[in-house]
């Protein structure tokens, strides 16, 4: 799988193995309403302060800020879902897709949502996520860790392009 830049306004990934392409294609489905675990919901919408006497701030945050965040996250997910319609199989069996550079922010956000949702759901810690050995994808946790790492690779490519 390779990141590429096409001209000044398009970027993309090519030479994507069919197995990886499926993990990319199913990214938006992970973030569909109702798909998030309670752990992921808590991670997406953390309390604004840990100070106990700030009840008003916490209730205001829930009432006014969380809906805006939900809309922001939904918009990123929808952009990615629309972009992924261009995921195409080439003659050699590998897949590729290209997106407008201006969608990179939405992709970064959606990739982060997916990584956080998966990590929160399975309770992954720093040690496991930083493990140098490749995960065993024959079990669910290993496959999830592999997926998190794949999305991290894609995020890193986008960050390097944007910075």
């Amino acid at each position: 799988m390779e990141f590429f830049v096409s001209g000044k306004s398009r970027i993309g990934f090519r030479h994507i193995h069919p197995f990886l392409a499926e993990l990319v294609r199913t990214l938006p489905a992970l973030l569909e309403p109702g798909q998030l675990s309670d752990e992921a919901e808590r991670r997406f919408y953390p309390v604004p302060s840990e100070e106990e006497d700030l009840h008003e701030l916490r209730s205001d945050w829930k009432a006014f800020v969380e809906p805006e965040l939900q809309e922001h996250f939904r918009s990123a997910r929808d952009t990615v879902a629309a972009d992924l319609k261009s995921l195409t199989e080439r003659k050699d069996g590998a897949f590729e897709f290209a997106i407008p550079l201006k969608h990179a922010e939405a992709w970064l956000n959606a990739l982060n949502q997916a990584r956080l949702a998966l990590g929160a759901e399975l309770g992954f810690d720093e040690k496991l996520l930083a493990a140098p050995e490749p995960p065993d994808i024959s079990d669910e946790r290993g496959l999830t860790l592999f997926r998190i790492n794949l999305y991290a690779f894609m995020q890193q490519c986008l960050i390097e392009q944007l910075e």
Partner: protein
Amino acid sequence: MATQTTELPETETETALAQPWNVVVHNDPVNLMSYVTMVFRRVFGYSSERAQKHMLEVHEQGRSVLWTGDREKAELYLQQLHGYLLLATIEQAGE
């Protein structure tokens, strides 16, 4: 013309708003270091060096105070950080 000023009693809310507030980012095992650094640069306009210093503080010490100032602005920064899915809170400075 002489003017007379009357000092009004300070309410608790006014006191809380007047005190400086910290914007704190907490460690998270999932967010990439490069992503966190990029967010600090964008939200606070920090240089690469300063953003990286805060990122390392978060990573090594579990938290970093990114900014201190009035509460209204602290809440705006907090909302932006939550939009980037960073684990962040605000707290009264000096606590």
